[in-house]
Symmetry: C2
Subunit: 200 residues, 2 copies
């Protein structure tokens, strides 16, 4: 491969490079196991009952991960934009059917790594154990914080906090989706925003 051919890998390699430094042959092998896929807005990447035996890197665009409860209500557990990793980790680990839907919110390009290839990658390039260890560690820290906020914050506090910490995402998702992420109804989030704008 000449340098030119790496351009489509630039973004993900930059992501890896945050935590581990790869040499040329390691880069080559890593790139060789990646699969690119493009989706239009509102397409499903994953749905329950499929096995999610891969992890997903968002190269561009925006997706939501959600479940649908027995009343047909959607509950979004995560938004992921370009540069974020996602998937259905429980399905990935257990080889059981997924419990989450993953759906694009914008036209998106994703990169997937299959579990099988990733295990080979771990063996061949040990540094990736460190990379994913760091990735999961950081992700875990932010999920712990989110749980703490879920049990201690009011809906208004959760909304203000999300807005403050994720201004980029707040602009890109609908209010309905944001309500679902915060765990409130769209009607109530609308009321909250009105109250807040009246205050100021």
């Amino acid at each position: 491969m000449n340098r030119q051919n790496y351009s489509k890998y630039d973004f993900i390699l930059k992501n890896i490079n945050r935590h581990v430094k790869l040499n040329r042959s390691e880069i080559d092998f890593f790139c060789s196991i990646l699969e690119f896929k493009t989706y239009k807005k509102k397409e499903l990447i994953l749905m329950p009952n499929k096995i999610a035996d891969y992890e997903i890197f968002i190269n561009s665009g925006c997706v939501k991960c959600y479940t649908i409860d027995n009343k047909g209500v959607e509950h979004i557990s995560l938004f992921a934009i370009e540069g974020w990793w996602t998937g259905d980790l429980y399905s990935y680990i257990s080889d059981k059917p997924a419990t989450f839907f993953i759906e694009t919110i914008e036209d998106s390009e994703i990169i997937t790594i299959s579990k099988q290839q990733k295990e080979i990658l771990y063996k061949k390039v040990l540094k990736f154990e460190r990379f994913f260890r760091t990735l999961y560690q950081n992700s875990l820290a932010s999920h712990i914080r989110r749980i703490n906020q879920n049990i201690s914050f009011s809906a208004e506090e959760k909304y203000l906090n999300f807005k403050k910490n994720n201004p980029a995402i707040e602009k890109r998702v609908s209010q309905k989706n944001l309500a679902s992420y915060l765990g409130v109804t769209p009607e109530f989030l609308s009321l909250l925003k009105k109250r807040l704008s009246n205050k100021s």
Copy 2:
């Protein structure tokens, strides 16, 4: 060290052994960086403003990790019993002051690994990257599920679900602590239990 001297390390070594196999010299080094501490019930292991530059393995007993909000209310984000790992991961990663209290619920023995020693361990015994990668990965999967349940379940569903999946812990913590973990008031949890017992 003769075999006898390893006995106090048995439980944590068994824990490590779930994911990686160590040889004798790796075991020796690992054990050499561990620190044992014992606490009586209701003692604080960690409090906000201290730097949590270590991770904690619960060798015996039970602890709770919680924050206290500006109204003085306690919010428990995790219970950990023997065989579980805990800490204040955000403080650990960022080297900033902890945001969590960690307090024993029973007389407990804990093992700590300092961040500094752990980094040396990663370099010396690469397998530990794999061990902690797996540990964080599994922990992340369960935290994602918990977030999903927090935003989609009613208090009653959260309670029944906790009881079903953590019968061992439910018996060991007070109802007040469980209420705090579920994100409801102790009074309301008491009411819920009464309603449920009337149903059956």
